[in-house]
Symmetry: C6
Subunit: 85 residues, 6 copies
């Protein structure tokens, strides 16, 4: 987790490192990355709030969202050497 | 499976490790990951119950869900060195 | 194919190993994995039978299904070191 | 290309090997794999013929098909060590 | 970051290197790559401006866009050895 | 770029090599691969011309196209060892 300890410059970063202590924390980071990605592309919080109900009640939207989480989790899992050690 | 034996801290984790004994168990973990991912994004169990019939009877939804399982399985297969040993 | 020879415990497994003798057998396994994945998510055989006609006559559904096969084939190809040896 | 030279057993295989002489041949194999995959899932040639016009005139279907080719090409490119040597 | 220092030829490049100092910068590059890709395929800025409102208010479009970012991020993360060092 | 120098046999190839001098050239090759893939699946240029307006004005089609570019870029980036050297 050296990136997180790298200094004050990174303290405000939402993604200081891809390294996590456990697979579950890696999964949570994958979800966070996916959510931050949506906010980066559509930064208007009011718009996102309005989209939320439709999105969260549409099974295909939910599956598509889990797909993005799965891709991000793969990246994080590799970064952590699959938490094998 | 060292992560699962790592101690009491992990006992409540739904994803203590990516390591499984067999490919089939790895596949089951991939399905579990995909399902947990949906619940993480839409935690309202009542909503999920209502979505289930539409989702489970729509071939495109089913295929999309198997796609997510396939991505998660790839990550798990790599973690297990493809169960070659 | 050591996993398949690992013993009686695996005899009932639908996925005892990712190792196949040839690329074509690996492709067949990728198709099998994709089909089993659908059945795992929607275990009701009667429902699946009803979905089959619509699915098999919709080009987009067919392409989506081949996409899942392609992802599974990649995992299997890696497991087999691309059958290079 | 040892797999293709492996003997008479493989002569009837549509996928005797992932090894190709050039990237372009690898791309052609990726297209062939994608097409064979459709035929494996929907073996009825008459049905496929009827689907062809709709599919080939729908930009989204075409893009989805190129996506599958891209995934298969990645597998083949890895198998060939990216034709670096 | 040698590619960025490679000389005046690269000074006008929008993608002089995949190497970034931090994961967050890598994520920003992934977003930039995704946006540049849209502009490459549809270079007409006026058309893109008109598409923007529909796109940015459609949850499925937003999720699809984050998927592309996730794929690009994976490439960038690998290029940077996951910022492990 | 040895494949491109391999001789007159490859001079007519649209994909003589995956090796490029810079990441930006690699990105351009990824776009070219994606476009050639569409033409391979739908070789009728007149049909493609008619599809172009609808496709280029549909945000979801554009995003889907950038997804294919992203997958092809990943393959090319790996082939070039991410242009690290």
């Amino acid at each position: 987790m050296q990136a997180q300890e790298a200094g004050t410059d990174d303290e405000a970063s939402w993604l200081p490192s891809l390294i996590t202590a456990t697979p579950e924390e890696g999964f949570e980071l994958a979800v966070k990355m996916s959510r931050t990605s949506v906010k980066t592309i559509q930064p208007d919080v009011e718009v996102l709030k309005k989209l939320r109900p439709a999105y969260a009640h549409d099974p295909d939207s939910l599956i598509a969202a889990t797909h993005v989480v799965a891709v991000n989790f793969r990246t994080i899992a590799e970064a952590n050497n699959y938490w094998r050690d």
